[in-house]
Amino acid sequence: MSGHTFQNKAIRWIDERMPIFTVMQHSAIDYPTPKNLNYWWNFGSLALFVLVIMLMTGIFLAMSYTPHVDYAFTSVERIMRDVNYGWLLRYLHMNGASMFFIVVYIHIFRGLYYGSYKAPRELLWWLGIVILLVMMATAFMGYVLPWGQMSFWGATVITNLFSAIPLVGEDIVTWLWGGFSVDNPTLNRFFALHYLLPFVLVAVVFLHLWALHTTKSGNPLGIDVKGPQDTIPFHPYYTIKDLFGVGVFLLFYLFFVFYAPNFFGEPDNYIPANPLVTPPHIVPEWYFLPFYAILRAVPDKLGGVVLMFGSILILFALPWLDRSRVRSARFRPIYKQVFWLFLIDCIVLGYIGAKPPEGAFITIGRIATAYYFAHFLIVMPLLGRLEKPRPVPQSISAPVLKPAAATAQMEKV
């Protein structure tokens, strides 16, 4: 496959010295992709698209932002009021963060449904979890920058999580703050890191893609590609499909930007930070709510923190917790139900995370938390042993030809 010959002389000249165009040809044009990918496979490239938007808007916003406790809030308002199209850049960035998580969460749940984490794609899955963790850190620090009430108290609460670590916890928190409370040094370093981490993200995304192009894309049937008849070149088939997805996504995204820009936000963040008054209801941004619910489900400080981080770290072990030989939930009748149960559980956790920790909310939160872990630690291993999967088609091309597998094909629509 190496040594593609290009017509254009300039391109050939460069490619002979550094095969960048050959690499692009292989990975974005010729890349043999299973021909049966459904629209759930759009969300990977969509996530990359959002990342680019976030980088662009972020860099231009940084040109007008001042990371200082006395100026941060007013500099953001100056962006909103005086900088040309500043309001647009800021609303794009603000809502873009929510969109990023929507897209990535759908991408993750697609992976869960179709068993994308299974061999040989474990490393690809791991890199995805690293991306999620870096995204979370970036989003959290970004939320601090406008220096409103939620920024300040969010920063205080989240950094205080580390004080739960035995012996060195307090020292770590002081170190994170650069002082004895969330203050100017904290804001300054959060800005530095918020600017840095997206580039780390780009690097990990690159590794994620590298791993993807090594093991190649999975597909809704969860079976391996048997030969060229099962694949089509990425371009033009998936480039155009992805572009259509981008169009639909932009309609959804920009609707919020133009017509409900503060839908995902909290009104309290339009009140400047006040270190002496905590708002009555402090909640994290919606994308952290399920984890926040897990944190609060445990009446012990250290226990809550461990469980919260554990809820993400457990994903690393998933390829070994799920022992089923079949990848796609399409051929796993019980897992298919369990998957939806797990999704509902996560939504319940998100709902509980937004509610005050009192009464029935506590009980529901605890049950949902217990189920979250039971899903990974009990249900998945058991299903691997007990579940009897339905017969899997011979090849990707086969179900189209054989009438017996027509039901599987129906489902795709």
Binding site: F60, M63, R81, N84, Y85, L89, Q229, I232
Partner: protein, 184 residues
């Protein structure tokens, strides 16, 4: 790759041209949209509304004696205001304007002969020329001298010698009364 390539082309003939047209049209619309979407990013780097709102400065001229200069700030740049002596005015007007690197008559550069108002930024590469204080070199033409690359300006702020391509810029200004001037 050969068998998959046959998929790519589908039915030849009319379908092909229709797809081509659709492809070109979509590419064109997409490209236009992308180009328009870039404008807010670029425009966000232009001066913001609060910067534009601060673009005039008022100066009281009464404390400036003949032969003295002051420097004020306007839009973050130094503006030289010189109360010229009769000799300086004479020197400036005696020069043959048409023979200068950037031909301009002194009369066209001042509103009142004794008051010379200039943006104090060398037109070569943006240094601040010397000559405001009596102790500083004024160059070969008794005006200003830019130490960075050796441009000499005369008593009208015109370039006479050195690499600078143009005369020192005269900002927009208006006399509010005999002793007050508004720059910008």
């Amino acid at each position: 790759m050969a068998d998959t390539a046959s998929h790519a082309h589908g039915a030849p003939g009319q379908g092909e041209t229709r797809r081509d047209f659709l492809l070109y049209a979509t590419t064109a619309v997409g490209a236009v949209g992308t180009a328009i979407a870039l404008w807010p990013f670029i425009h966000s780097m232009n001066p913001a509304a609060d910067v534009l709102a601060l673009s005039s400065t008022e100066v009281d001229l009464s404390p400036i004696a003949e032969g003295q200069s002051i420097t004020v700030t306007w839009r973050g740049k130094p503006v030289f205001i010189r109360h010229r002596t009769a000799r300086e005015i004479e020197e400036a007007r005696a020069a043959d304007a048409s023979g200068l690197p950037d031909p301009q008559k002194d009369e066209d550069r001042v509103q009142k002969a004794e008051w010379l108002v200039l943006v104090g930024v060398c037109t070569h590469l943006g240094c601040i020329p010397l000559g405001q204080k009596t102790s500083e070199p004024k160059g070969d033409y008794n005006g200003w001298f830019c130490p960075c690359h050796g441009s000499h300006y005369d008593t009208s702020g015109r370039i006479r010698k050195g690499p600078a391509p143009a005369n020192l810029v005269v900002p927009e200004y208006t006399f509010l009364d005999d002793n007050r001037v508004r720059i910008g």
